[in-house]
Symmetry: D2
Subunit: 193 residues, 4 copies
Amino acid sequence: MALFCPIIAVIGGDTIFIYFFLCVFVSPCEEYLMAPFRPIIAVIGGAAPTPEEEAAAEAVGRALAEGGAILICGGRGGVMEAACRGAKSAGGLTIGILPGPDRREANPYVDIPIVTGMGEARNVIIARTAHAVVAVGGSYGTLSEMAYALLFGVPVVALGSWEVRRAGHPPAPIIYAVTPQEAAAHALALARK
Amino acid sequence: MALFCPIIAVIGGDTIFIYFFLCVFVSPCEEYLMAPFRPIIAVIGGAAPTPEEEAAAEAVGRALAEGGAILICGGRGGVMEAACRGAKSAGGLTIGILPGPDRREANPYVDIPIVTGMGEARNVIIARTAHAVVAVGGSYGTLSEMAYALLFGVPVVALGSWEVRRAGHPPAPIIYAVTPQEAAAHALALARK
Amino acid sequence: MALFCPIIAVIGGDTIFIYFFLCVFVSPCEEYLMAPFRPIIAVIGGAAPTPEEEAAAEAVGRALAEGGAILICGGRGGVMEAACRGAKSAGGLTIGILPGPDRREANPYVDIPIVTGMGEARNVIIARTAHAVVAVGGSYGTLSEMAYALLFGVPVVALGSWEVRRAGHPPAPIIYAVTPQEAAAHALALARK
Amino acid sequence: MALFCPIIAVIGGDTIFIYFFLCVFVSPCEEYLMAPFRPIIAVIGGAAPTPEEEAAAEAVGRALAEGGAILICGGRGGVMEAACRGAKSAGGLTIGILPGPDRREANPYVDIPIVTGMGEARNVIIARTAHAVVAVGGSYGTLSEMAYALLFGVPVVALGSWEVRRAGHPPAPIIYAVTPQEAAAHALALARK
């Protein structure tokens, strides 16, 4: 992708220095212009997390944004809001797939609120859109999203979340992480495959 | 099944005719006319069951119909078809919530094909519409339906299906049955609560 | 359609009369047992109709049930409730595709409430499931259903409803009826094609 | 649009260099970081447009991006692709709400593919998410999106698209534009209300 180099004239004493800068700060912006090539990674989890889960979600969101991913989530509070806050703290882009009919339902860290009005059926969209999913804690809604991701062949990383088991069925390919950084690293690696 | 025996007294001249109608044939029909008061029970499970799962699904479908329930399912093959076949063998009514855009996707035992064209998002509708859910085997699609039912507070009975567990989370209120008859009995009892 | 004839013994005075009844009332029930072969016809329209629209919807619902169709609608009040009431008055079967998350949203004449929780996205399901659609009055929700039916190739009959036109586009194949009976007759004929 | 002018003082030897960066190139990027405050405007229309419609859609997309809007569309070919191409030519951000289950269905100018797998039910999401809608030509799918936007109170601008009319109903508040620029200007103005 084209780099760009503003020409900056600097007057210092009696000399004019002309600098060609490689605007490293611009690079995160550039990535937005290349959005189709960046992985979209979901952080899923409940609206009423414990403080530990909330902190974990924020750390996951930050690490995903630092890793160059776009964050997708359900757009509401709790784990979703913490993940978005984390992603924004690292200059990331955040997408919220909202269940209700009103974009004001989005938490303040959602850049792009997608308003479905479809209730919990929107969980399908999160699972289908993501290149990988990180589950942080969560209740049955989170379990439905994990199940959908497994159904669609989307990699699932769990951090203090559900274990599922069926006698006679191969083990579900869920990756259990212990730290937020590990969870994000797994998701970033799997999303790029 | 409740018999329907109106006693009708007809006064004709000086004679009293007393009619006892034992309308045995009418009783299954009658229930359709009272559909809003009959429970709708879902049988969920995979499109590629084992022979044992297929037999179990058929037995569950039959027992549910004998118990007066309307059957709802995903409308396709495998466990869904077996459950519908069982329900029809007992004169039941069957509803198929189809994922694709074409009603011909329904198995031949579906009375009422509901055509969603919404893919796996239709799983939400099955879970929301049912008064109780019986899972027979199944893969991740089935797990998503169980998760949705748990999310919506709809009773879930499992027959050789998923177990779910999250550390620090109360156990999921899934009832594990051993026989199809037991599964159907649980579902019928829970649906009527 | 196979008729069935219960034998009824009537004791009157010293005489025993044996009656062979032709249970004409049973025939509508029988049809439920053959539901897959009956057309499903939608009546669409607003929740706040005029008295004339409400009466028309009821007459359409009745005529459709008399014609052997299963009625599908949005399951709520106004035109939807009137159509269901009409269908039930003729012994029909009624399906309500509900937008909200609760089956109690259904009007009292809905036999089978399908609970989507998907808001207005449920309009797609009504249009896809129906073999034909009758629009009675209606506002923009009704227009969306007409558009979907046209998109899916489902015949649309309008009774005091929307006209649509696009310069350079072939006229939309909407049939404009003048009376409820005419609307129902068109829908029944088109649904059987 | 806010310019971004960091002043950087660099002390080198005995000279103070003062740098004024006028990062004009950064400003479009900045907007991505402020995405929640930018309007999201939909361009809707068919997959098989005339060359004139395609050119119009591209011009609308470009004008919307120049006006600071994020573009949302159905993500596929025809009008959708032309609008995305136009938006990208002006450095805009594009969102595609895809009907199918696979992100590869997106046209090459979609930055953020949202994969619904919900077929035409995804039209609801486009209408709900947009602050305003521009219809360019289009067939019945487009009509369904216009109807949904009208239902949700989202402003609709039409460019060679549908006219709708119902006797006894107030005229639909569709704004008919003649040029792409006019259509985009209306949409931008209405979206900011």
